[in-house]
């Protein structure tokens, strides 16, 4: 009996599958799109519509993909009706192109499980709500904003840049925030004039706003929403430049638009169609970023733009892609107060300086002292004193208090619960204290072995003597990781190399480091490396004999350009940026960050030494190998 029943169900299921498959193959994929504004708005709505048409063309025209559009659906109730209508009429994919449509979309999705719904900007694909037929797409508009801002900052002659915003919300504010950061980062002297029109479609008001900014001296403008044609026209009349977002606006204003951040939603639409074809109706949250879905279009035919501006734009794009630069989605409304407690000095050319420099850099990116206030306590080798400093900053109401030393962990875990409103961070560490119920601690560490490996490869090739010295502080923390990675790099390149490793037992004893280096040099070493704030002594010693040095933690080439070949630089800026962003969004801890070559947290920075091309090639190959996972650098040295 039950077997028969089972068989019946099986047959039923099978026939359903066949029916599903055949119906999927029959007729076109029917896509319905609900847009807040018009398909020709040169902005948000047009970006999606154009993508849908592109997908349609690519997949074989109307026979393959059928597109229906409801445009200018400002009213959310009308949008809900439209979504329902499309679902009832049997459309396969209903895309609601506005965050405001989310509530209605979730209601409908449970009712029409066979229809796929997509919405954006959002990262919520409804999995928590138990929905399996919702796609979400999010846009990191701040990235393109940053690139545009950087270029605008370098392009402006008057030093004044205008931003014509619609309302301070949504992806417009992400873009504007990114833009301001880009200007700050590339030209801190430039002034950004922000004004909102309070509307999305008031072209004339956008023009008036632009003209007012031009009257205030602006020669470069940007802005978003379908109102911008008015503003672009105004800046064109004034002979200035415009940076666009959402779609490439250069075809309409080839003499004025310098660069555009263009959304390309076609990848998302294609993937949704493909997923449906394979029987998956939802469950993916897409993110459009520079890697995928956000394209920078540089209007290089434009005359009069200096080469350095194009270069800076491309550099900023590369830096964001690699993670070296991290544009924040949110900007602090009042000064964000960061305090850092560190074992050594802000100028130690090593661990402490790397941390402090990151704070200064993020301060500049976010708009200077009005945006970020930095307090620091240096030379805190005494853990008790450090704990006092941490507590003091928490008492003073700092937003983020950074314990920049592994040794501060115990005290931090003790005092963090007393200040639940304060976010703390410590490194190098991986433990955020979640197991102990702590929710306000971030942890960060550096994958120092990766850059160590790269340095090691170069050192092995550069050393004529085949003898390489390492001046370590104590065999612990990131110094140990670095040294282990370095050795692996050396031995992978020259298995016969002679590695002379010595620890000074101290972090700051410069004289001892010099003595150690000199000893290694006498032992035949012609290439050396080392870690911690003691290394200046060692580098000096290497310079004296004309040898080569590889640095870590900070860029050490400044004082010894002829000696320092390359440094592995810790770039904490993206980590600090992420933490600030999270704190502004109300999350005070619970995340562990790791600097790697992949996420841009680690960079190899060359000094003034003329390095043979083959060595640079080898270094780049090592970096690529580590990034792709082909080369695995162990944190512990394999037992010999």
């Amino acid at each position: 009996m039950s077997r028969k029943f089972l068989a019946l169900i099986l047959i039923l299921l099978l026939s359903l599958c066949v029916a599903g498959l055949s119906s999927a193959q029959d007729g076109p994929v029917r896509v319905a799109i609900i847009l807040p504004s018009s398909t020709t708005d040169l902005s948000w709505s047009q970006a999606l519509y154009d993508a849908a048409v592109a997908v349609q063309t690519e997949m074989g025209g109307e026979e393959a993909v059928e597109i229906a559009v409801s445009e200018n659906t400002w009213d959310v109730t009308a949008a809900a009706d439209a979504m329902r209508g499309y679902a009832e009429e049997g459309y396969n994919i209903v895309i609601a192109h506005g965050t405001q449509y989310g509530s209605s979309l979730f209601e409908l999705a449970s009712e029409f499980p066979d229809t796929s719904f997509a919405w954006g900007t959002s990262s919520d694909a409804g999995m928590d709500a138990g929905l399996t037929n919702v796609f979400a797409y999010d846009v990191r508009a701040q990235q393109g904003g940053y690139i545009n801002g950087c270029m605008a900052g370098l392009l402006t002659e008057s030093g004044v840049i205008g931003v014509v915003g619609p309302v301070p919300a949504g992806d417009a504010i992400l873009y504007n925030n990114g833009f301001e950061q880009g200007v700050n980062a590339c030209n801190p002297a430039a002034e950004v004039l922000v004004a909102y029109t309070g509307s999305f479609g008031d072209t004339a008001l956008a023009a008036e706003t632009a003209n007012t900014q031009i009257a205030a001296g602006a020669d470069v403008l940007t802005g978003s929403a379908q109102q911008v044609p008015g503003a672009i026209d105004a800046i064109e009349a004034a002979g200035g430049y415009w940076f666009s977002t959402d779609v490439d606006q250069a075809p309409n204003w080839p003499e004025t638009v310098v660069a555009s951040m263009a959304y390309d939603f076609s990848g998302v639409i294609e993937d949704i169609i493909a997923k449906r074809a394979s029987g998956v109706n939802g469950g993916t949250a897409y993110e459009l970023n520079l890697e995928d879905g956000v394209t920078m279009v540089y209007n290089e035919a434009l005359e009069g733009v200096p080469a350095e501006v194009w270069e800076a734009g491309r550099q900023a794009e590369a830096d964001i892609r690699s993670g070296v630069v991290y544009p924040l989605a949110v900007l602090p409304e009042e000064p964000f107060r960061i305090a850092i407690v560190m074992p050594s000095a802000t100028t130690d050319l090593a661990w402490s300086q790397a941390g402090y420099d990151a704070l200064v850099e993020i301060q500049q990116q976010l708009g200077g002292e009005d945006a970020v206030e930095i307090a620091y306590t240096e030379g805190m080798f005494d853990v008790t004193a450090a704990a006092e400093a941490l507590r003091g900053y928490a008492e003073d109401g700092y937003d983020l208090v950074i314990a920049h030393g592994t040794q501060y962990g115990t005290s931090l875990f003790e005092l963090a619960p007393d200040y639940p409103e304060t976010a703390f961070a410590w490194g190098t560490a991986t433990d955020t204290g979640v197991d102990q119920g702590l929710t306000n601690i971030y942890a960060y560490e550096a994958g120092a072995e990766q850059g160590g490996y790269v340095n090691g490869v170069m050192a092995a090739m550069l050393s004529e003597a085949g003898t390489i010295g390492i001046v370590g502080p104590v065999p612990a923390g990131d110094a140990l990781l670095y040294i282990n990675g370095f050795q692996q790099g050396v031995l992978a390149t020259n298995p016969d190399a002679n590695i002379l490793l010595a620890y000074t037992g101290s972090f700051g004893d410069t004289a001892l480091a010099a003595e150690t280096a000199n000893t290694q040099i006498s032992a035949g070493a012609d290439v050396l490396t080392g870690s911690a704030q003691q290394v200046p002594g060692a580098i000096d010693a290497v310079q004296a004999v004309g040898g080569y040095w590889f640095g870590t933690q900070s860029d050490q080439s400044g004082n010894w350009p002829e000696t320092v070949v390359a440094s592995q630089v810790y770039n904490w800026t993206p980590v600090v940026g992420s933490m600030i962003e999270n704190v502004l969004k109300g999350t005070l801890g619970g995340e562990a960050f790791n600097l790697t070559l992949n996420n841009g947290g680690l960079e190899i920075v060359y000094g003034g030494v003329e390095v043979p091309q083959e060595i640079i090639d080898a270094a780049n190959a090592a970096i690529a190998g580590i990034q792709s996972g082909e080369i695995v650098v162990q944190q512990e040295l394999p037992e010999a």
Partner: protein, 323 residues
Amino acid sequence: MTGSSMTLDQILVEALALMFLYSTPYLFAALGEVFAQRSGVLNLGVEGIMLMGAFSGIYVISSKGLGQEPMVGLLVAMLVGGLMGLAMAVVSVTFKAEQGISGIGFTLFGLGLSSLLFKSLAGGVITAQGEGFQAVTIPILSDLPVIGKIFFQQNVLVYVAFALVPISVWILNRTTWGLQIRAVGQNPAAADAMGVNVDRVRYSTVILGGVLAGIAGASLSIAVTPIFQENMTAGRGFIAVALVYFGGWSPWRVMAGALLFAIANNLQIWAQILDVQIVGQSIPPNLLIMAPYILTIAVLVFARQRKRLEPAALTKPFMRGEN
């Protein structure tokens, strides 16, 4: 963000110059509405007529459209505005329709039709940079400090708009037609008894109002902001109607209202871009954007109201023997 290095008087000069430019569309539309209302017709369709004028004007002049001279564009906008005014007159004068609602009908129709024409004829944003009316610099005077920039480097249509103010006053107060307009607006039955053709007078004013609203729209699209985008007037027609009440039906005071509204709006933009702060806090932009509207109401509350010019028969259709 740091404050701009401009001094307050520099800012004021810029703001005053922009005030004249941006008050122009309001002024054209509001003057047209003054004529209509003085004859007893409330035309709430100004917004729709402005949109049609704005589209037709730029489509005629833009190289993306017909590529004609600016003057031709202006004439076409006037024609289109006049036709819309004629239609409004047919509805509100001949068919005696309720004026507020028919105006809203014309606003919707103008909004829809202008967007449709825009989509099907132009297909996308139209610009007319350098093709429309340009700013003229009046020799010698434009070089004067301060006032040169404010008064003598404006767009042609700005001068036309402000010249229309005294002309309107003269027409209304010194011509037979003006007398008829006022009579028809005050007491149509009496005017009718004296042999004035009430309907004909109202047709003339509503059509004139349409023509001026058409110019208002065109002044936006071919002079002030040489561009067209769907719904580009964004409520300016309604503000123009409100300004007629602000000015108590007097062209001079309507002009004052247009200037007040324009300067307030421009100053709020300045406040935003200079990041004006109150007790160390930036003012949220949406609160600044409200300011011109609040100010307009406040000024009206504190200014002495004069309703001397109020047309008693406003909004009332005239039906012989029934009023």
